[in-house]
């Protein structure tokens, strides 16, 4: 890779190798495919939404690793009670 390519932020092949391996190893170690992970995410959203209103657009969901152990990390913002009250005051189509 040339100096100019690096200067303009083109990813090096070593970086690609590392990033691809990080993902592959997570799936190998947990035996979870990206599709299964997606399903798990949807189930999680459905379950939590039954109890509290969450902001799905701002939610973070993914695998992290700590040494050789994997951790499922979900950061799920809950919509504020004030906003929920405001929206519940609107007449509902019942």
């Amino acid at each position: 890779m040339s100096f100019l390519e690096k200067l303009f932020g083109k990813k090096t092949s070593a970086d690609s190798a590392k990033e691809r391996l990080q993902l592959v190893l997570i799936h190998d170690r947990t035996d979870l495919t990206p599709a299964e992970l997606e399903l798990l995410r949807d189930d999680l959203i459905a379950t939590i939404s039954r109890h509290v209103e969450i902001d799905v657009t701002a939610m973070q969901f993914g695998m992290e690793h700590d040494g050789r152990s994997q951790r499922l990390v979900a950061d799920i913002p809950i919509k504020s009670a004030a906003r929920r009250r405001a929206s519940s005051r609107k007449p509902k189509a019942r």
Binding site: S13, A14, L25, R68
Partner: protein, 265 residues
């Protein structure tokens, strides 16, 4: 000191397991340790040619296990190093000729004969691999800084943990420092980050390894070879010595250093 039984494995084939066994064996033996190498790759015998002992084979590991010869008769003595022996694999049999308990029994007898038993595992994660790790006190995992070798090493490390064989220690083989400097090869730090296990050695790519295998003379016997030095360092670490890791990744010309800095994310 009780004998140490060390199995060298990798998952992927062709990463340098047999080369590592041969070089660690000659490095340990030339430093005075009594070493017995066991070729665990039944049907695909190779450690004999790498060590240059292929013309001296009479009996093999299956002959010992099936009682056709005594243990000592199957131990081929190295001409260069009288305290180095090889028990060759059988070439005309397959993995099913040996079980894990056969390996345990054989290695138990060897412990009395030497300071180090080095077992060369076959590639893969099947029976031959399971047999090779069964008697091990310690497992060394060989990998290359390359995606498929790292992935397979991770699988093997996972199996070692599940079988309670300890986390193992990593040999990063065939690292090309110039490619790492150009960021076109995973660095040793990248590989360690991914695999998260203890490092026991980094061996640079070295044409002397091929030349040594052509001649049946492991490169660790060549005092000038860089790869040979790396294997000698690993041998010293196996004996419990604290040998600092030589920086292979850094350095390069001033221009390469500037390029590396400029290329940093």
């Amino acid at each position: 000191m009780p004998a140490q039984v060390i199995t060298i494995t990798s998952g992927k084939g062709g990463v340098g397991k047999t080369t590592a066994v041969a070089n660690l064996a000659v490095a340990l033996a030339s430093d005075g340790s009594r070493v017995v190498c066991v070729d665990g790759d039944i049907g695909l015998r190779n450690l004999d040619v790498i060590l240059g002992l292929e013309n001296r084979i009479v009996y093999d590991i299956v002959d010992v296990i099936e009682g056709r010869c005594r243990l000592k008769q199957a131990m081929i003595k190295d001409k260069r190093l009288p305290n180095l022996h090889l028990i060759p694999a059988a070439q005309t049999r397959d993995k099913s000729a040996v079980s894990a308990s056969d390996m345990n029994r054989l290695v138990k007898d060897l412990r009395a004969e030497c300071d180090f038993v080095l077992i060369d595992s076959p590639a893969g994660i099947e029976r031959g691999f399971k047999n090779a790790i069964a008697p091990a006190d310690r497992v060394l995992v060989v990998t290359n800084p390359e995606v498929s070798a790292v992935r397979d090493a991770d699988r093997v490390i996972g199996i070692l943990e599940a079988e309670e064989k300890g986390p193992g220690a990593l040999i990063i083989n065939r690292l090309n420092p110039a490619l790492v400097r150009r960021q076109e090869m995973l660095s040793a730090d990248d590989v360690l980050d991914l695999l998260a296990i203890e490092l026991i050695g980094i061996v640079p790519e070295d044409e002397g390894v091929l030349i040594g295998s052509n001649r049946g003379t492991p490169v660790a016997l060549d005092p000038k070879s860089k790869a040979g030095q790396a294997f000698r360092n690993i041998a010293s670490r196996l004996k419990g010595e604290n040998v600092p890791f030589v920086e292979l990744d850094s350095g390069g010309s001033l221009w390469e250093r500037i390029q590396k800095l400029a290329g940093r994310r």
